[in-house]
Every structure is written in structure tokens, then in C-alpha cells.
């Protein structure tokens, strides 16, 4: 029997019943199922499919992982790797999928009596190189998927952190949280101004309770937003300026030449007043003391 990689392909085909259980056993020992993120059925079907595709690759593509014959096998690895990255597997847990196949394959080669020890060693070496390459490929895909997750999360954070909420008819609030850099401020600004147009709001409250520090640049951004809103015909009120921030701003010589209120509640009161509304406390009727007063508020 000639000792080429085609031999391994044949052996993988004929010894599948031996290789597969051994491989799955090793994966389980490595803790692939411990996290409960995938079921044993999934693991078995993934493993069996990969073994078939690997056999096809070995039969047609030799031991070179960059050969197009390994395309389907790599595709499967990419899918497995991507889904594991999203499920929160660690890189080593993910790479174990490929690396743990080494031992069952070597055992199969050693069990085969038609191969001389030298041939077996040579094939073992080829298979090692091949699986190493496939393992690295798996890690690369894993890494890329994680990066995609991070980019997506960054985008989501940027969007989530600038919600414009409607407090009342014609009154908007923009609760800012976190540090305001130029890029984020631009998103915030455009978002607020567009919402003013869409909702025809006359007053926008910018609440900076959640902003840890206000430097000169941030103050300028705030002022620009207020100025732009005014040009469009809406008034802005800034609320939630913390004592330290007020002090810093005075020290920096930043004049926040806008209406500002201590709390969002104060700002809302001003906004309601300006739009011709008043909030009054309802007199409780002695007869029905513990009835649903909040529900009747609107009346």
C-alpha cells in the first residue's frame, strides 16, 4: 500500500465507526458540552459532517489545507466557529473541536497493520500539519466573529446612549449618559434636531445628570446644539448640571449661556409652564381615600 494522504482518506472512511465515538469522547472530556451551550446531538452531527468533509478533502486535496478541495470542510469550520463565537465559547474551547481529532486519527493510523512504522509516522506528520492549519483557520474565523460582535455592540451602544424621549406633547428630553466626544455629540445633535422636526416639539430638555465631566469642548458642543435648535424654532433647557461640573465650568471660563435647571423635574415644570400647562395636585375626597388616584390623574 502506497503511503499517501489518500490512504488516510480511505482509513477515515472505513474506520468512521471507531474514530467518531473516540473523537466525541475526547471533546466531551475537554468540556465541550459542560457549558450547556450546545447539545450532544449537535456535537455529534457537527463532528460526523466534518469527518465526511475532511475525508473528501484528503481524497482530492492531499495534505494542503489551502487546496480548494477543503472548501466545504473549511466552510463547516467557519460556521461552527462563528456560531461558537456568538454563543460565548472561549477560543480554546472552539479550537479543541479540530485539535481533538488528532488523537483518534493517529490511533487509526497506528492500528492499521498494512502501514510500516515509517509510513505511519510520515502520514501522522502530514495529518498533524493539516489539522494545525485547519485549527488556526478556526481561530481566525472565531476572532473575526468576535470583532464583528464588538463592532455591532459599539454601534448599538452609540444608538442606545442617545435616546430622545417624548415627555409630553411638544416636549422632548435627551438624557445624556457617559462622556461626550465630538463624534458622539454629532450623532446626538443630529438625532435630537431631527426628532424636533419629526415631533414638532417646541422644547427640548438636555439632561446631563449622567455626564461625568464637562470640558470646554463638551460645553461648546452643548451650546452649538442649543443654538441649532433655536435656529429651527425650538427652545432647549439644560438640566442636571452637577455641582462639581458647575464649578469646573466656571473655572474653565465656560459660560453656558442657556436656561439651566437643577433637575429634569424642574426643567419639565418650566417646559410645561411655557407651553401653557399647569400641574396641580388633586384634592383627595375624604370618602374614597384609598381608591385609584393615579389612574384618575388624567381627568
Amino acid at each position: 500500500m502506497a503511503a499517501n494522504v489518500g490512504t488516510v482518506a480511505e482509513l477515515v472512511g472505513s474506520s468512521e465507526q471507531l474514530i467518531l465515538p473516540e473523537w466525541i469522547d475526547l471533546q466531551k472530556k475537554a468540556g465541550s458540552l459542560n457549558t450547556g451551550r450546545i447539545t450532544e446531538n449537535e456535537l455529534v452531527s457537527q463532528s460526523r459532517e466534518f469527518l465526511h468533509l475532511l475525508r473528501d478533502g484528503l481524497a482530492k486535496g492531499g495534505s494542503d489545507a489551502s487546496n480548494p478541495a477543503y472548501g466545504p470542510a473549511k466552510q463547516l469550520l467557519a460556521d461552527v466557529s462563528r456560531s461558537r463565537a456568538l454563543q460565548g465559547f472561549s477560543p480554546s474551547e472552539t479550537a479543541t473541536f479540530v485539535f481533538s481529532l488528532k488523537q483518534p486519527l493517529f490511533n487509526t493510523l497506528n492500528r492499521n497493520s498494512t502501514l510500516s512504522p515509517a509510513q505511519a509516522a510520515e502520514l501522522t506528520w502530514s495529518v498533524t500539519l493539516l489539522l494545525d492549519e485547519l485549527g488556526l483557520f478556526t481561530l481566525e474565523v472565531f476572532q473575526k466573529s468576535r470583532e464583528e460582535v464588538i463592532v455591532r455592540q459599539q454601534r448599538e451602544i452609540a444608538e442606545l446612549s442617545t435616546p430622545v424621549v417624548k415627555l409630553w406633547d411638544g416636549i422632548l428630553a435627551l438624557p445624556l449618559i457617559g462622556t461626550l466626544d465630538s463624534q458622539r455629540t454629532q450623532v446626538v445633535m443630529e438625532n435630537l434636531l431631527q426628532t424636533i422636526v419629526d415631533s414638532e416639539a417646541a422644547i427640548a430638555i438636555i439632561d446631563i445628570t449622567g455626564v461625568p465631566t464637562v470640558d470646554t469642548l463638551t460645553a461648546q458642543h452643548l451650546l452649538k446644539t442649543v443654538a441649532a435648535a433655536r435656529l429651527m424654532g425650538a427652545d432647549c433647557i439644560v438640566s442636571g448640571i452637577r455641582p462639581q461640573i458647575a464649578q469646573t465650568m466656571v473655572h474653565l471660563g465656560v459660560e453656558l449661556n442657556v436656561v439651566s435647571k437643577a433637575t429634569l423635574a424642574d426643567a419639565l415644570a418650566v417646559a410645561l409652564e411655557r407651553t401653557g400647562r399647569a400641574v396641580t395636585k388633586q384634592k383627595r375626597q375624604a370618602a374614597s381615600e384609598q381608591t385609584k388616584t393615579p389612574a384618575e390623574k388624567g381627568q
Binding site: K224, A227, L231, M232, G233
Partner: protein, 129 residues
């Protein structure tokens, strides 16, 4: 030379700028508005710029001038419908048009002018200027 039409609307004048104005057109509008305010005894001027894709310093200056002149002639100028992108750009350019009143749309602008005319029955926002 073509001119931007000025409509009379009760005791207010309404101008809707819908074309990309060259500078001579802007200057002509300024002159026309001044004479119409006097002619009709108008108490308010409403300039709708919601169709304008940009406002540069020249048009900004025109708006400022119109507001200043009409104030002398006892009329309020309200600029309405400025787009967000235009507002952001104007602020970046360094123009805040502090002498000009603004409103989100024609309806609100008209209400602003009427509110001033009926000074007796409301505590309106005019005092803020």
C-alpha cells in the same frame, strides 16, 4: 430680473423661498420686503426657508437685515422651517441669527406673530429678547 413673491396674509407678510437664491435675488427680496411692510402696514413677516438646502453667510446676513429693518418698522420677523442640517451648519459657520425669531413651521410662526399682537391676554415669550 425675477423676484421672490411676497404674499399678504392678514396683517402679516409671507415669503416662501423655494429657489437656490443668488445674491442679487436676496438683496432684491430685502428691498421688496421693506417697502411692502410700509405699504401694507404689516405687523409681522414670516419667512419660510424649509425648502432651502443651505444658508450661507450672505443669506444669513439678509435674514438678519430683514429682521432689523422690520423691527424699526414695528414688525416682527419670524424665520420658519430651517432644516436640522442647515441649522448645524449655520452654527458651525458662526452665525446664530440672535436678532431673528424662529419657529418650527408656518403655523407656529403665525401663532408667534399673533401672540405679540394680542399682548394683553398672554404672558408670551417675547420679553426674552
Amino acid at each position: 430680473m425675477d423676484r421672490i413673491p411676497i404674499l399678504k396674509f392678514g396683517n402679516a407678510l409671507l415669503v416662501t423661498i423655494q429657489v437656490d437664491m443668488h445674491d442679487r435675488l436676496a438683496t432684491a427680496l430685502e428691498e421688496d420686503l421693506t417697502s411692502k411692510i410700509v405699504e401694507y402696514g404689516a405687523k409681522g413677516v414670516l419667512i419660510d426657508i424649509s425648502a432651502l438646502e443651505i444658508v450661507d453667510s450672505f443669506i444669513g446676513r439678509m435674514l438678519d437685515n430683514i429682521a432689523a429693518v422690520s423691527r424699526i418698522l414695528d414688525a416682527d420677523t419670524v424665520v420658519v422651517g430651517m432644516r436640522p442640517a442647515v441649522a448645524i451648519t449655520l452654527v458651525e459657520l458662526g452665525l446664530s441669527l440672535t436678532g431673528v425669531k424662529t419657529a418650527l413651521n408656518v403655523e407656529r410662526g403665525m401663532a408667534l406673530i399673533h401672540a405679540r399682537l394680542k399682548t394683553s391676554d398672554s404672558e408670551d415669550d417675547d420679553a426674552e429678547d
